[in-house]
C-alpha cells in the first residue's frame, strides 16, 4: 500500500519559492490501477518523483508497504526502489549501447540475482511483452512501441509491487498506445499496482480510479470538469 499524508514539496532558489505539492494526501491500495491527470505545473511530476523516491519530500509522511520512506538512507532507498518499484518513462529511457537483453538486465544486476535467475526473468518478461525474439537487437533497431515494451519488460523483470508510468503512451501513435495500455491492464490484472500519469483523458478512463491534481493537491470532482474550468480561465 502507498500512503502519502500531507506531503509538501517546496523548491527554493535565492529569490523564488515554488510550492509543487501542498499537503498532498493520497492512498493507493494493493492492486489498484490509478491514473493521475492535471494541467501542466499542477504537481503530477513531483508526485510521481516522490512516489518513486527520486526526490525527497519537504514535509509530511510517505509510507510504502507500511514503511516510513523518509527515514531511509540512500542505500535502503535504492534497495526499495529496485525491489518494489518499476518505472516506465515517456521517452522509454533505454540505454542505447546495450542490447535489449542487457537493458532488461540492468535492474536485476543491482538486485544481485545470479546469472541463471537473471536470464530466466529477462526471457520471461520479454516473452510477456512479445519481444523474446529481439533480445540481441539494440534499441535503435526497434520501433517506438517496441522500445516502450522493452521498457515495460525491464520494469516487470524484478516483479515489483508498484509500477509508476510517466506518460507511457506519450510518444506513441494511437494503435501502439492502445497496445501498451492493453499490456498495462493485463499486468494490473495479474496483481501489480499501477500509477499512471497522463494528459489524455481517454487513457485515464482505462484506469480503475482517476486522480486529478491541481495546484499541488488532489482535487475533488471528475477530470472533465477541471479541464473545462482550467480552459475557461
Amino acid at each position: 500500500m502507498l500512503k502519502m499524508s500531507k506531503v509538501s514539496k517546496t523548491y527554493r532558489t535565492d529569490t523564488v519559492e515554488t510550492h509543487a505539492l501542498r499537503e498532498f494526501s493520497l492512498t493507493v491500495d494493493e492492486g489498484e490501477f490509478v491514473s493521475v491527470t492535471g494541467p501542466s505545473g499542477s504537481g503530477k511530476t513531483t508526485f510521481l518523483n516522490i512516489a518513486g523516491m527520486l526526490e525527497e519530500l519537504t514535509s509530511g509522511s510517505y509510507e510504502l508497504d507500511s514503511r516510513d520512506i523518509s527515514k531511509l538512507n540512500d542505500k535502503e532507498r535504492s534497495k526499495v526502489r529496485n525491489e518494489k518499484i518499476g518505472f516506465i518513462f515517456q521517452s522509454f529511457n533505454l540505454i542505447p549501447e546495450l542490447d535489449i537483453f542487457d537493458n532488461v538486465d540492468v535492474p536485476l544486476r543491482y538486485r544481485g540475482f545470479d546469472a541463471s535467475e537473471r536470464s530466466r526473468r529477462i526471457e520471461e518478461s520479454l516473452e510477456m511483452v512479445g519481444l523474446a525474439s529481439r533480445m540481441k537487437h539494440f534499441p535503435a533497431q526497434l520501433s517506438g512501441g517496441q522500445q516502450q515494451r522493452v521498457a515495460i519488460a525491464r520494469a516487470l523483470a524484478g516483479e515489483p509491487r508498484f509500477l509508476l508510468a510517466d506518460e507511457p503512451t506519450g510518444n506513441l501513435d494511437t494503435h501502439m498506445a492502445d497496445s501498451v495500455l492493453d499490456l498495462l491492464t493485463e499486468i494490473n490484472e495479474s496483481g501489480t499496482t499501477i500509477i499512471m500519469v497522463t494528459h489524455e483523458l481517454s487513457l485515464a478512463d482505462r484506469a480503475k480510479r482517476n486522480i486529478f491534481v491541481r495546484d499541488g493537491q488532489v482535487s475533488d470532482g471528475p477530470p472533465e470538469l477541471h479541464f473545462a474550468t482550467a480552459a475557461n480561465g
Partner: protein
C-alpha cells in the same frame, strides 16, 4: 559486478572514442614527462648494495688543517691517507675491510695486430669482492695472502675478458700491462654498480673499472692515483715514499660490520687510533670520525644533482596540469551521461554502485594512459639520451627497469583515479528527478 563494470567501461569508452582518447593522451603525456625524470633520478639515486646497506660502512677520519675544515661546517675528508688506510686495514678490526684507489695502465693485448690501450684499473684488497658481492663468471678474487706478497694477479671484468680473450675462461692466462705480466685469477660476470658507490669521486656514473689488481702491488709499483687527490700541506719530499707518508688523502676505505655492537666497537677503535695518532703529532682537529652506510654516503656526497630534483618538481607539476585537464574531460563526459546516471538510480543503483562503476571506468582509462605513458617515457628517455649523447654513462641513466614500468602504470592508475574522484562524486550527486523526464 566487477566484470560487468569492466564491460560497461569498455562500452562507455567505445561510445566516446574521441573524449576517451583525449583523456588517455593527457595522462600518457603527463606520465611520460614525469616518469622520464623519475627514471633518471631513480637510476642516479639507486643503491646497488641496498641488500647490504646495514652492514657496509664508508670510513672517514679528520686529519685535516686545524684552521680550515675540509668541508663546511666541519666535514672530514671523503678519503683517507695511505698511512691511515694501511694501518686500519692491517689492524683488521672489522669483519671485512677494503681499501682501494683508481689508477690507469696501458694494456698490451697479445697478437701482432692488437693495439695497446689505456684502461682504468682499481687497486684494491682481497675483501673487495666479498664485501660488495661482486659476481664471478670464472675463477675468483685473490686471498689476503696475495695482499701481502704482491702477487702479480688480476681480475677482469666480463667486458675486458671479451675484449682480450673472446669471452673464454681466461683464468691462468697472462695479461701484459705497462710491459709487466699478470696472471688472470678471475673474470667477473656483468657488474655495473650505478652509481659507483665505493668511489663517488670524479664521476659516480662512469661505471666500474675493467681491471682489478692487488693494492700492495700497485703501491709497490708506484702507480699514481687517477682519482681525487687532496693535501692540506705539502709532502715532506718529492718522491713517492714522501707522498705515501704525507697527509694527502686519495684512498677510499670501506668496512663490513655485522651488528650495532660491532659498529660501536669499530667506532671506538677509530677514536682510539686517532687519539694515538694525535700523540704522534698528527690529527690536529677534534675527533671527527664517521661511518656512513652506502645510502647515507650517497646522500652526503649529493650523488643526485639538485637540478634533477628541480626537473622532477617541474615534471610533477606538468603531470598535475595534465590531470587537471583529465578532470575537465571526465567532468564533460560525466555531464553528458546524466540521463544514464539518473536512469540507473531510478532502476535501483545506489550511489556507491554508481561510484564503483565510474571509478572502474576511470581506472581503465588510467591503465590505457599508463601503457601509453610507458611509450611516452621511452620517447622522453631517448630524447634525454640524444641530448647528452657525449656522456658515456648516459645509456645507464636512461634505462627503464621493471620497477619503472610498473611504476608508470601504477602512477597512471592512481592519477586517473584521483582525477576521477570529483567528476564521479558529481555523477553520483546528480538528482535523478532533474534529468529524467517524468511529467
Amino acid at each position: 559486478m566487477f566484470r560487468h563494470y569492466l564491460k560497461l567501461g569498455v562500452l562507455s569508452i567505445r561510445a566516446n572514442p574521441a573524449l576517451s582518447a583525449l583523456m588517455v593522451a593527457a595522462i600518457a603525456v603527463g606520465i611520460g614527462a614525469c616518469m622520464s625524470i623519475v627514471t633518471v633520478r631513480h637510476v642516479m639515486s639507486d643503491n646497488p648494495v641496498a641488500h647490504k646497506n646495514d652492514v657496509l660502512y664508508h670510513v672517514q677520519l679528520d686529519n685535516w688543517n686545524p684552521d680550515d675544515p675540509y668541508g663546511e661546517p666541519n666535514e672530514p675528508p671523503e678519503q683517507v691517507t695511505y698511512l691511515d688506510a694501511t694501518a686500519l686495514h692491517q689492524a683488521g678490526r672489522a669483519f671485512r675491510q677494503t681499501i682501494s684507489f683508481k689508477s690507469d695502465r696501458v694494456v698490451q693485448p697479445d697478437g701482432d695486430d692488437a693495439r695497446p690501450f689505456q684502461e682504468l684499473v682499481r687497486a684494491t684488497t682481497a675483501d673487495f669482492f666479498a664485501m660488495f658481492d661482486v659476481p664471478f663468471e670464472f675463477g675468483g678474487g685473490w686471498d689476503a695472502a696475495a695482499d701481502q706478497t704482491e702477487e702479480r694477479v688480476v681480475v677482469l671484468s666480463s667486458e675486458m675478458n671479451q675484449r682480450l680473450f673472446g669471452g673464454e675462461d681466461s683464468v691462468g692466462r697472462m695479461l701484459t700491462m705497462n710491459n709487466e705480466s699478470y696472471r688472470v685469477l678471475g673474470v667477473l660476470q656483468e657488474w655495473m654498480p650505478m652509481p659507483k658507490f665505493y668511489d663517488l669521486n670524479n664521476n659516480p656514473y662512469e661505471g666500474a673499472e675493467e681491471i682489478y689488481v692487488p693494492f700492495s702491488l700497485a703501491v709497490t709499483g708506484k702507480w699514481g692515483s687517477s682519482g681525487n687527490n687532496s693535501c692540506w700541506k705539502s709532502p715532506d719530499g718529492g718522491d713517492f715514499a714522501a707522498y705515501l707518508a704525507s697527509e694527502c688523502i686519495w684512498i677510499q676505505m670501506w668496512v663490513e660490520l655485522r651488528s650495532a655492537s660491532e659498529n660501536d666497537t669499530y667506532m671506538q677503535f677509530l677514536d682510539d687510533y686517532v687519539e694515538e695518532q694525535k700523540s704522534l703529532g698528527r690529527f690536529p682537529r677534534e675527533l671527527n670520525n664517521r661511518l656512513n652506510t652506502p645510502a647515507e654516503w650517497m646522500v652526503d656526497r649529493e650523488v643526485v644533482d639538485d637540478s634533477v630534483s628541480v626537473l622532477l618538481s617541474l615534471a610533477v607539476l606538468f603531470l598535475v596540469v595534465c590531470l587537471l585537464n583529465t578532470i575537465g574531460l571526465l567532468l564533460a563526459k560525466v555531464m553528458r551521461r546524466t540521463n544514464d546516471i539518473s536512469l540507473r538510480r531510478a532502476l535501483g543503483a545506489s550511489k556507491s554502485a554508481l561510484f564503483s562503476q565510474y571509478i572502474i571506468e576511470a581506472g581503465m582509462i588510467g591503465v590505457a594512459g599508463g601503457l601509453a605513458g610507458i611509450g611516452m617515457t621511452w620517447l622522453g628517455l631517448r630524447g634525454i639520451e640524444s641530448v647528452f649523447s657525449d656522456y658515456d654513462f648516459i645509456a645507464y641513466l636512461v634505462s627503464m627497469d621493471w620497477t619503472m614500468i610498473m611504476g608508470a602504470v601504477a602512477l597512471a592508475i592512481v592519477s586517473a583515479l584521483g582525477a576521477a574522484l570529483y567528476p564521479t562524486w558529481r555523477a553520483c550527486s546528480v538528482s535523478p528527478a532533474t534529468t529524467l523526464r517524468i511529467q
